[in-house]
């Protein structure tokens, strides 16, 4: 049994870290503060070349041939660096297209020449989804993805009638309200549930990265900021908060990896593990981002400080796939977890 980064995982994480350290997403977000835009086409293609969208697809589908575990490692790095844009939905759309054998839709998603965005809704079925819904990071030339109970639906964004821009909570993101056109492609049944579990794991992986980055920011500040003549990290009020943040980040990291492997292996409790990963990682990102604000004090309330970017990203990611109430209900309603974790 192994549950640690092997050489492949470490290499994937290091490559993404290097890329985003050289071209920091936060600088990108700051430079577009007046008019948030999607990452430009060149950057998106560079990320595609890193395997962001095809890492877990087989080579004959234009992918890299790794699994969901490796993709989760990659998405954790994207989350840690606050990489913007519709990352999870583009992968999810590619996985749907692959399962449907729609190579016409799949190819452009994997190579980074087309993007997909999620419809954010509490609706369980298309009939329930009357009127307009919110779509973060909509690309007018891209696709739109809707995940329902036992059904995943793709739409052509260009066919959406008059999307209306809405100001987004996250300064890194764009947001639209729009009605949905007729479906372009539909995936049903167990395959749709597996795709949803994959989406939950990738969102959870990004959230675990946000939790880790918030922790690192707090620890760095607690070592250098002095009050009462001492670094504030020497006070237990701050030190213990940081230790709690570390445990949350570690719980999220480990559960995301475990769930990714459970889904990849087709474990009978895989759907529970994915939901648990999203619940635990959501809690970790929201808790750590909020505690990071607290650790920084007043300076974190200034618009020029980066701490709040982790709050808005955590909130946005955590609310995208389902409400917390619905997620927690699904944890109780679904199959019971195995008491021992190894098949």
């Amino acid at each position: 049994m192994r549950l640690f980064y092997d050489e492949t995982d470490a290499a994937i994480a290091a490559a993404v870290d290097e890329l985003l350290t050289a071209d920091p997403p936060i600088a990108m977000i700051r430079s577009q503060a007046a008019a948030p835009a999607l990452p430009d086409a060149a950057r998106w293609r560079t990320w595609a070349e890193q395997g962001c969208f095809g890492l877990a697809l087989p080579e004959d589908a234009g992918g890299v041939g790794y699994g969901l575990g490796e993709l989760a490692v990659l998405f954790r790095e994207l989350g840690r660096h606050l990489a913007p844009g519709p990352l999870v939905p583009t992968v999810v759309a590619a996985h749907i297209a692959h399962r449907l054998g729609r190579s016409d839709l799949l190819g452009p998603l994997v190579t980074g020449s087309r993007r997909a965005a999620f419809v954010v809704t509490d609706a369980g079925s298309l009939d329930e989804l009357a009127g307009e819904a919110l779509v973060p990071d909509l690309d007018p030339d891209g696709l739109v993805v809707l995940l329902l109970d036992g059904r995943a639906v793709l739409f052509d964004a260009a066919a959406c009638p008059t999307p209306t821009p809405v100001e987004a909570l996250d300064p890194a993101g764009r947001l639209h309200s729009c009605a949905l056109p007729p479906a372009l492609a539909v995936l049903d049944g167990d395959a749709a549930e597996t795709v949803r579990a994959e989406a939950q794991i990738l969102a959870a992986a990004e959230l675990s990265g946000v939790a880790e980055a918030s922790l690192s920011m707090s620890v760095a500040y607690a070592k250098t900021r002095t009050q009462f003549g001492r670094p504030i990290g020497s006070f237990q009020a701050v030190a213990h908060r940081c230790a709690t943040m570390a445990a949350r980040a570690e719980a999220a990291r480990c559960q995301v990896l475990f769930a990714a492997l459970a889904v990849a292996a087709g474990a009978h409790d895989a759907s529970f593990q994915a939901r648990a990963a999203l619940a635990v990682a959501g809690q970790a990102a929201l808790g750590n981002a909020a505690d990071n604000m607290r650790n920084h004090g007043a300076i974190a309330m200034t618009a020029e400080h980066d701490a709040y970017l982790y709050v808005t990203r955590a909130r946005t990611l955590a609310a995208t796939l389902s409400t917390r109430t619905a997620l927690l209900r699904s944890i109780l309603d679904g199959p019971a977890p195995a008491l021992t974790g190894i098949a």
Binding site: A243, T244, Q255, F258
Partner: protein, 387 residues
């Protein structure tokens, strides 16, 4: 990265499960320590004879010399089979034994390790003192060298099973005038020595597992110092990191099973109007979070174990797991009390939760180092924050 067991590990797991099905005692473990002692020793002996004692201990000391993964698989199957709590054999098997494996001379190892595995010699722990709890380095029990012996005077507290244990892992100050972590020694104390007085402590949940121990010029041979005179702090820490790491795997499964029991009970109709607690969003949220966090706790433990297999060191992540587990198990017991309704008034409700079990859950953030101390360790050793 993968989670799949090798064919050999699966075979070991199945063999363990089969053996446990045939050998787990049918009768319940007595709750009080004195009648529990012979029960615990007999069950330990049965495990030894079955080849399942000291799975990851070296072969030369009577162990099986197998991997930590197999040790963990054993703990998992042990809990699944509802095998009895290790009880009075805990300190020997999980504390003193591993410390002797890592630090003792071959003579001491040969004399002590096989009898521990066979359930013949029971151990207890003498670390904490009335004035040295969280601040363990504040130990004042002193030992003076007199010929070939140390002469120990002082007192210890929170010693589990002192009234039945034959030996004690005892930390004493062997250098007069030394302070803090210096000048301490880890010694083997024979509990039948003259000058020892034992006083059991009544706990809020009932059983008298814990004791105070008083030492009045108790003689301990210098040959029974383990890990070197004056080197007791380092020797003791090797024991504690074990407890904080993989020493409580079976308890995790018990916790997971308890969460499942609570979810099942919350789904039953109650009272005249047939209300189900699970239909209440507040109860449902707490149970769902507990189920998810129990899964995450297991994932953290697997990750820590994988790390140990790779690097030979469980690392300080053990402290994180320890307080995560302690606080989670308290929350779970509290949910249980909220579900019990009128039965919450009983000290012994007919459930695996509530009553005395709820009262005992307050120990989960104290034993083996309080949650606050674990957070200090994480802050300083994992995160590198200043003291």
């Amino acid at each position: 990265m993968d989670l799949l067991l090798s064919a050999e590990d699966r075979e070991f797991r199945d063999e363990a499960a089969e053996w446990l099905r045939a050998n787990v005692p049918a009768e319940r473990r007595p709750e009080e320590v004195v009648p529990a002692h012979p029960f615990d020793r007999a069950w330990q002996r049965t495990q030894y004879d079955g080849g399942f004692a000291g799975i990851s201990w070296p072969v030369e000391y009577g162990g099986r010399g197998l991997s930590l993964v197999k040790q963990m698989l054993w703990f998992e199957q042990y809990a699944l089979a509802r095998a009895p709590w290790i009880g009075t054999c805990f300190v020997g098997i999980n504390h003193a034994g591993p410390t002797l494996v890592h630090n003792a001379t071959p003579q001491i190892q040969a004399a002590h390790l096989p009898p521990i595995l066979r359930g013949e010699l029971t151990w207890c722990q003498g670390f904490s003192e009335p004035g040295a709890g969280s601040d363990l380095a504040g130990i004042r029990t002193r030992a003076e060298i007199d010929g070939d012996d140390l002469v120990v005077t002082g007192s210890k507290i929170w010693t589990s099973f002192a009234q039945v244990a034959r030996y004690q892992e005892l930390i004493v100050r062997t250098e007069a005038g030394s302070s803090r972590h210096q000048g301490l020694s880890w010694v083997i104390c024979d509990m039948t020595s003259p000058g020892i007085t034992i006083r059991p402590i009544e706990l809020i949940n009932g059983p008298h597992d814990l004791c105070e121990v008083f030492y009045d010029e108790v003689r301990v041979p210098l040959a029974d110092v383990v890990g070197g005179l004056g080197n007791g702090w380092r020797t003791a820490m090797s024991t504690l990191s074990f407890e904080r790491g993989t020493g409580f795997m079976a308890e995790q499964i018990d916790l997971a099973r308890l969460v499942e029991d609570l979810i099942a009970d919350a789904g039953q109709k109650r009272g005249l109007r047939g209300h189900r607690p699970l239909d209440n969003d507040g109860i449902a949220e707490r149970l769902a979070v507990a189920r998810a966090e129990t899964a995450a706790l297991r994932a953290m433990t697997y990750a820590s174990l994988s790390e140990s297999e790779k690097t030979g060191n469980p690392g300080a992540a053990g402290s994180m797991i320890r307080f995560y587990f302690g606080e989670l198990s308290q929350r779970v017991q509290a949910i249980g009390m909220d579900l019990l309704g009128a039965d919450a008034l009983r000290r012994h409700p007919a459930r695996e939760y509530g009553g005395a079990r709820y009262l005992y859950s307050f120990a989960a953030t104290v034993g083996g180092g309080t949650s606050d101390i674990q957070r200090n360790i994480v802050a300083q050793r994992v995160l590198g924050l200043p003291r």
